[in-house]
Amino acid sequence: MKPPYAVHRNLIIRLDDAFLLAVMLGIAAILTAAMTLQYANGELPCPLCLLERVALFGVCFGILLNFRCGFSGRNTGCSLLFAMLLLVVSVRQTLLDIYPRPGHAYIGSAILGIHMPVWSIIIAVALLTAYALKLALLGGDEILRNADVSAQPHVKRLVDLLGLYLIALVAINLVSVVLQCGLGECHTFGYKLLTASSAGPASSAAPDSAARRAAAPVRACARAARTVRAAALQLRSR
């Protein structure tokens, strides 16, 4: 039978792992949903929306470091710092668009009647509250510092999978940002690099060629009519 201290220690480690995994999973799901809306519905993220994504990734980074490099209060602090950044950015964005005026309105579709900046406030407050509760209820810095995630193979496997998935998400976002913003400011009009390449000098005749392609069936019909008329004239002359 395990001594009471060992039971208490295992419980704290498991609860902490469950909490961190739940936060990571939740954030990965939110970011996946945002990226699905971007690529499936063509809803390009605004600069502040991209910064909100960065903040969410930052929260996950602290958690990932807790699992990969061992528990540290610094990693928790990093997550909390990015949760604060998320709150500041999303509150400011909500206040920017709260009063509709020319050039300012909530971007993207509403989910359950709430737009993304307002959702971001809710997410940030939920994250800060959850971290505060976790620190208040679990504590156990000494226990967690000596915990080894490799002692729980299923947790380690899940963390590895989630970590790789998050790295892939960051890489996709980086490529997307390069396409959308280039090296300058970000806009929601379209993917800057793709638009620039299609409007470049090499393809400046693109609209002409498109019009020519569209008129091709009409030209073919006219050619066929001319041929038929010529054949009829020949028959009549005989």
Binding site: V54, V89, L174
Partner: protein, 70 residues
């Protein structure tokens, strides 16, 4: 600028994945500073500065006087 933020973030994640703690910390610090700078740049308006004059923060005196009991 946004590209730099995401590049630093990717660098931080990769360094963290390979347990290069110092490099990861440096990259995430760079991400945070760049993101904060970009945020301030985005919300700054040459016309209003950091103020938000479209949000009314004072009550209309005439509207208030209507609710004062006689």
């Amino acid at each position: 600028m946004m590209v730099a933020v995401f590049a630093a973030l990717l660098c931080a994640f990769v360094a963290g994945w390979f347990a290069h703690r110092r490099l990861a910390a440096a990259c995430i610090a760079a991400t945070f500073v760049l993101a904060l700078g970009l945020f301030l740049y985005e919300v700054y308006s040459p016309e209003y500065g950091f103020r938000m004059p479209w949000i009314r923060t004072h009550a209309d005196p005439t509207a208030v006087s209507q609710h004062v009991p006689a």
